[in-house]
Symmetry: C2
Subunit: 272 residues, 2 copies
């Protein structure tokens, strides 16, 4: 059992604010929360019974784990500031190789939750897949125990696997959310409650878990209904950006379905 082991949490953003409290409930002891602004570190530290810090100078040297929950671009800076040599460092990034640690310390690893976290949206981590990787089997075992304490789905995965998972996450989460956002913007302009689209959004997501997305495609684009697509492209004339996305994603669907995309080239918006 690793319950009772101590963690210094670096970062107080979307992920830290979900992972911290979940690990705390599992019995891990948070000693410090490090964040650039005192407000955010204090807010999270209070929830975890930890001490808030804004600089790396006061960080304790003897915590069991240093859990890095910062943006990918900040990880190396954090590691350099941590005086890492004898510490056990863990990052939580999809696209950062585990070897980012290798020239700094001997005990390190990765704990990557494949999920989208927003501070103002609750989340049960039990169903979130965690991908783990570490510098040695002993360290992997420690990280697996951390992951298993909050999630039922823990898998070992290389840095390369994680990078592919992260690209897939960008498509299925960030890009999907951008499609929602475009629809939300159209609804706002036309004074249509965006709520009407929720059942469709939810069903599309649920369906992806039941039947393959390759089989689930419906609507005028998958039927190659050019008249409807032309109507839609015309309707988006005040939004060249939305038009461009419509044209490109529609072309992608048509090509995957073996249809010609030639008629789309004649549509306005293609070369705007």
């Amino acid at each position: 059992m690793d319950k009772g082991k101590s963690i210094v949490l670096i970062g107080a953003g979307n992920l830290a604010s979900h992972l911290g409290p979940a690990l705390c409930r599992s019995g891990y002891k948070f000693v410090q929360v490090v964040s650039r602004t005192i407000e955010t570190s204090t807010l999270l530290a209070q929830k975890l019974g930890a001490i808030p810090e804004t600089s790396f100078t006061n960080i304790t040297a003897d915590a069991d784990f240093y859990l890095i929950c910062v943006s990918d671009s900040q990880i190396e800076m954090v590691v350099r500031n941590l005086n890492p040599q004898n510490k056990f460092l863990i990052h939580t990034s999809g696209s950062t190789d585990m070897n980012i640690f290798s020239s700094f310390c001997k005990r390190y690893g990765v704990l990557y939750p494949l999920q989208t976290f927003s501070k103002n949206k609750e989340m049960d981590l039990a169903g979130v897949p965690f991908f783990t990787e570490a510098s040695s089997p002993k360290e992997l075992d420690s990280i697996d125990r951390i992951a298993n304490s909050v999630s039922e789905i823990v898998q070992h995965g290389s840095s390369e696997l994680r990078l592919y998972l992260h690209v897939c996450a960008v498509f299925t989460c960030s890009f999907t959310n951008q499609m929602y956002r475009i629809a939300e913007e159209i609804c706002r302009e036309k004074e249509i409650p965006f709520e009407y689209l929720h059942p469709l959004i939810l069903e599309t997501a649920v369906k992806a878990g039941r039947i393959s997305p390759a089989m689930a495609q419906t609507g005028p684009v998958s039927r190659n209904d050019q008249l409807i697509m032309k109507k839609h492209i015309h309707l988006l004339e005040d939004h060249p950006e939305f038009r461009k996305i419509y044209t490109f994603v529609a072309a992608s669907i048509l090509k995957m379905n073996g249809h010609s995309t030639e008629f789309l080239n004649a549509q306005p918006g293609k070369d705007e």
Copy 2:
């Protein structure tokens, strides 16, 4: 009460195979199911206790409603073949104007369910928003009764509103599903179970119903993490199509967030 009123169903596709049985359970009586192939019309007709038909010559003249559930591009052909003059015609399309009926008959309208339907995926229509429109208040009342018999969300909506809703549906369903499909393809190639992405897909959809998609955006693109985006674009080198979509949708997110997209122009794939 309109229960017991008779319906001729034209079409036996995804929508007809969900709407027919639901209306049947609500007490509407289906007399005929018309479809181009005898197999599909027979299959659905049996479920509805109706007679299957493959041509328009045998269609009864005295049903209360003629419910048209065919592709948009087929609607006008269907109307011409229906000998429509004294019939009450209803179509179910998002992007087809109600006036498609106006030169053919006097009693007509639209019953548009804003949802994605697949034959092999069950669906409770109670939570599906239905948008109704008709040639007169009396006909609208009849169509509202049909909609209310299966759904709790029935709204009057013009043909223009429906067209905008349909464009939004293409973005939030068809285009979203295409993002899933691209991820599924990457997973397949890398032998990663697509199932790992289900919790993320579902949470992204659920979140859109709780907080605005404009606020819900997470990930490297919304953080403008150019290093990660470059890694991802590099990773997609064997898939110029996926790269193109990545670049365009990422640019759309960056622009909406007020970031420059200049670095994307220097990436491979932009002009492939």
